[in-house]
């Protein structure tokens, strides 16, 4: 039986990818960002997941305004790094797991979540930056990756509660998959940031840390946070944090917090990072 054993949450700021690609990780500005992942790299190397389900958002790369899917699951065999205007990031092609992905699609759609299925799309920094943070820069990514792109660009995104429940449906789907696979789910984006208008640069450290507490210990409450609160308290792009609820829903109610990191700034953004393991998981 396949099993989701843990979740990884982190921001996916494009400048982090650029800093890595340009060899700036030891510079004083970036050093504290990457330091937060020293533990995580070792943790995931020890855990050796077979598959990562990576919840992220596309930033006008694979999807423009011609098609705006709310939830788009990557069921294809491979996904190439997108050219976001400065050439594709020099990172390996992402290999999917079409069989598990099709199984998840079938299961969660019958569970009343109307996914869009995508066999061909390029993946942008939203997906590749978290992989870099967790795995560094290998020749090939060490596991299969199933992308789940969530619209958070055009308001409204799916509600936090919807995301949380989709996570639960994904958990049920994975657990019904006959092959033995160890799966980790990533929920990325956030934390507080605003990239527009006169409030650009907004950071709410207190709120962000409270969200990390809620996500760990009282996710049902976190799922009820209304959009107006996200936007007012954490900025227009802070709303990306609904994606963290997908990954949280995919875990058991009781979890162990293995690692937490918070740092300001990563460019315009508060960098947040959380690793949770199912309490029942004996790692």
């Amino acid at each position: 039986m396949a099993k989701i054993v843990a979740s990884v949450n982190c921001s996916h700021v494009p400048a982090i990818g650029a800093a890595w690609d340009l060899g700036k990780t030891e510079q004083p500005y970036w050093q504290p960002v990457f330091k937060g992942f020293d533990y995580s790299k070792k943790w995931i190397a020890d855990l050796k997941p077979d598959v990562v389900i990576l919840v992220y958002n596309d930033h006008a790369s694979a999807f423009s305004l011609e098609v705006i899917p709310t939830f788009a699951l990557g069921t294809g065999a491979e996904f190439k790094p997108a050219d976001e205007g400065w050439g594709p990031r020099p990172v390996p092609t992402v290999h999917g797991h079409p069989k598990l992905a099709s199984h998840i699609a079938q299961s969660v759609i019958l569970d009343e979540f109307d996914l869009t299925l995508v066999n061909k799309m390029d993946v942008d920094h939203g997906l590749t930056v978290p992989l870099t943070l967790m795995f560094g820069q290998p020749e090939a990514w060490p596991c299969k990756v199933i992308p789940l792109a969530v619209n958070v660009v055009q308001y409204p995104p799916p509600t936090g509660n919807r995301c949380y429940n989709l996570g639960k449906a994904i958990r049920r789907a994975v657990e019904a998959y006959p092959e033995d696979l160890r799966v980790v789910i990533f929920g990325t984006g956030g934390m507080s940031h605003q990239l527009q208008g006169k409030r650009a640069g907004l950071i709410n450290k207190e709120w962000d840390n409270n969200f990390l507490d809620l996500l760990t210990h009282d996710p049902g409450k976190a799922a009820k946070i209304p959009f107006i609160e996200y936007v007012r308290e954490t900025g227009s792009e802070g709303i990306e944090m609904v994606m963290w609820l997908v990954s949280r829903g995919a875990l058991e109610d009781k979890v162990r917090e293995k690692h937490r990191y918070y740092h300001v700034p990563a460019s315009n953004t508060a960098l947040g990072h959380l690793i949770l393991e199912n309490e029942s998981f004996k790692g």
Partner: protein
């Protein structure tokens, strides 16, 4: 939630292949080949040398054979979807009715006649057990 590995009631409907996510995965390259026939230049290229053109798509040998033989029923079983296959039979100048007839082992005339008389009855066609009888 309903997992086909456990119980799939759809498998009991006779003469019917459900194009689900799993078949979509299996038939991806077959269907994408069909899709390519929406461009005139590709149709010309395909007609000039079918086997060569088909090798551009990493489909299975069995799928390739079924295309070359225009075995529509087999293509459906191997992950083909009829809306995609329609690009292929349109390239051949054939109609949905011709292909539907051929899959049921009827001539187009017989099939058309059946349709004029109200279509195939659902009675006796609901379950595999009825076909066995």
């Amino acid at each position: 939630m309903a997992d086909k590995a456990v119980v799939d009631p759809f498998e009991d409907i006779p003469g019917t292949t459900l194009f689900n996510a799993e078949r979509s995965r299996v038939g991806y390259h077959l269907n994408m080949f069909c899709m390519s026939l929406m461009k005139k230049a590709n149709r010309e290229e395909f007609k000039a040398n079918e086997d060569l053109y088909l090798r551009k798509w990493p489909m299975t040998d069995e799928q390739r054979e079924a295309v070359l033989k225009r075995d529509w029923g087999r293509m459906i079983q191997l992950g083909g979807n009829v809306y995609f296959l329609s690009k292929l039979f349109s390239t051949d100048g054939l109609s949905f009715q011709f292909v539907a007839a051929s899959m049921t082992g009827m001539t187009q005339e017989q099939y058309a006649e059946m349709m004029l008389h109200g279509g195939r009855k659902v009675d006796g066609n609901r379950s595999n057990s009825e076909w066995v009888k």
